[in-house]
Symmetry: C2
Subunit: 389 residues, 2 copies
């Protein structure tokens, strides 16, 4: 299950005391071979956390075999001392794995991810003990524990598996707030036993995340720690068709992104905003994202009010090409706005279910995109006004 | 008071039945001379409402003498029939004023403004009766009634007056939600008895709004109806120094913008985000606006939690020039972030008052800007999830 669904991976998730709740907070994922290829995408936030700065360098090698992740602290905005902590974490993991004769590991093969409050140093003594414990518990069945140990405000673990043509892809993710990825989202580790080189792996991951995690905009806030890592080890012996692998990987990312949306902080609605008839894909994305970031639209969805004026007012702030008098908007199949004006009866819109489908047709071209978001609820405000206290 | 503080203006505010509450909903402001100069700025939203499309044309004349405003309906996204309603409104006003022998008026001298729900046609029969009633009640003391009649979710009327060197400026505004103006904000009418031509009037108004209303970003949502109109009539006989008039006008706009922030829907905090050390003014504005639009930051303010990581994560999403390890952040005078990392003790920050001052120093130049916003409260969500139902 999770990151150990594919052959040739071990994982563990343990409680190191970084979370005051005593819940699991250190995850470890290890590629046991035979080969090692890796890829990763990261947040574009300029205040990238220390582990992001570290892992960007690790990615360049293309052969990393290990991911260590902690919750209970983001190690972001912690300066050079925080970066030294991340470096020390990778050294501890490499030395520990080597000491237990699990192979010869160097710190340069170890991705590091952290999540939690920004601006606090990690308790390195606790983290060190947690790493030792995690190494001792590494197992081909450890994927679920690993997924549990990266949760913060998540109420559900997020895992996914997919069986390809002779190979397997599995993954885990975390994320419930600060959920508007710029190049990736929150933390996710995906593994596969397919035989793929790191160059193609990187291309495949960039495409898959651009179509999935990057199209999720739950609360408009981009994290300092967003990271998606993909490890491949060829343990299945299968060398998949690149197109088929790309599709499979995109489906796994899609599944994980859906789970993130389903568990978004305080959400009562999962809103799919499909923009069609755009003159280019980036116009479609821009329009969808603008609507997904309108607090007034999101409040209306929470109130189950088909207030399409708030959709148009958000569309109207974009630089997308369209004629205002041609835009149609449907909510859950009812075309309540036709040609930029009043359409079908708004009372026909049923918003009682959790899933909401918004369709915006710009009538300006043939391109489309889907952006996923959530409503803005009282629960979101309550949860995020009490987060660090 | 309000738009009748300056000499040579009459105004009225009456109840026409457009609002289901029976409250006042039609305002009229008339310049009684001797001269007539006018200026206006409008929303940049591509779904500009019918009255905005109309009033943009009126502005080009530079000699409009009348403003008619209604609450109880935005007349936005109503297509050609909605535009015909706006045109008819201006004709009704001009004909009514002429019939009552208040002068010779043409529809081309009448600005029209509307505010309320998007996507609904106005009740023109009710509006017509309201216009007749308003004309009959026009008085040099009508400024307060006029200010009351444009309120929607506002809980307080917004008026301002300023005495210049031999002349007076007075104004009114409305706005409590969809409050993130692109070129102006919501509805505001300002009058002066100074002797100023419409060309300078337009320049002065554009500068004043760019520094005041445009720096207010309460909820990130740009309205389809934002309009600020300025009328001048030379009734005082004073021809002010342009620089002095510019400063006076900016102060009136500033005062009205402050009142908008103070009455923002559901707000419990008024947050002044000052960005200094920017390499250019637009960088400072971009950084301030990014923070003002972070729901996580706004929730933290509601929860009185000095969570500076949420400020940095918002700053980090901008294209502004700065080095992450040089950025300082203070909240209410406590420098809780120094050099992009942990600074003074966060527990020293007192957030119990309504006013919050955030200072972000980018250390990248000499430019600065202030963006004003509010917190994201349970009250905001409640109010905006129940608005149109």
């Amino acid at each position: 299950m999770s990151v150990t669904q594919a052959q040739g991976f071990t994982a563990a998730g343990v409680a190191a005391g970084l979370k005051s709740s005593g819940a699991k907070d250190v995850s470890l994922v290890v590629n046991t071979g035979p080969k090692a290829a890796s890829a990763a995408v990261f947040t574009t936030n300029k205040f990238a956390a220390a582990p992001v700065i570290w892992s960007r360098q690790i990615r360049l090698g293309g052969d990393a075999r290990v991911v260590v992740l902690n919750s209970g602290g983001a190690n972001a905005c912690t300066g050079p001392p925080g970066f030294a902590d991340t470096h020390a974490t990778a050294e501890l993991v490499a030395a520990g794995l080597t000491a237990r004769e699990l192979g010869e590991f160097g710190a340069g093969e170890v991705f590091v991810c952290s999540t939690g409050l920004i601006g606090e140093r990690l308790d390195m003594a606790a983290l060190g003990k947690g790493i030792d414990l995690a190494i001792s518990r590494l197992a081909p069945t450890g994927g679920v524990d690993a997924a549990d140990a990266i949760m913060t405000t998540d109420t559900q673990r997020k895992i996914s598996e997919l069986r390809g043509d002779g190979y397997t892809i599995g993954g885990m993710a975390k994320g419930a707030g600060m959920l508007a990825p710029g190049m990736a989202t929150m933390l996710s580790v995906i593994t596969t036993d397919a035989d793929i080189d790191s160059e193609f792996l990187q291309h495949a991951l960039e495409f898959a995340t651009s179509q999935t995690f990057d199209r999720l905009d739950s609360d408009g806030c981009m994290s300092t720690n967003d990271t998606v890592i993909l490890l491949a080890n060829a343990a299945s012996g299968a060398s998949p068709d690149p197109k088929e692998f790309q599709e499979a990987l995109t489906r796994v990312c899609e599944d994980l992104a859906q789970q993130l949306m389903a568990d978004a902080e305080g959400s009562t609605k999962e809103i799919h905003i499909e923009v069609t008839g755009a003159s280019c894909e980036s116009d479609a994305v821009q329009v969808g994202r603008s609507v997904s970031r309108s607090n007034l639209f999101k409040c209306a969805m929470f109130g189950e009010d088909p207030n399409w004026g708030r959709i148009l007012s958000a569309v109207g702030t974009t630089s997308a090409i369209f004629a205002a008098y041609e835009v149609d908007v449907s909510i859950n199949g009812v075309k309540i706005c036709i040609g930029g004006g009043v359409g079908e009866d708004r009372s026909a819109v049923d918003l009682s279910q959790r899933r909401v489908d918004v369709l915006i047709d710009l009538h300006a071209g043939v391109h489309q995109a889907i952006i996923r978001t959530n409503d803005l609820s009282i629960g979101y405000v309550v949860e995020n006004s009490e987060y660090s206290t």
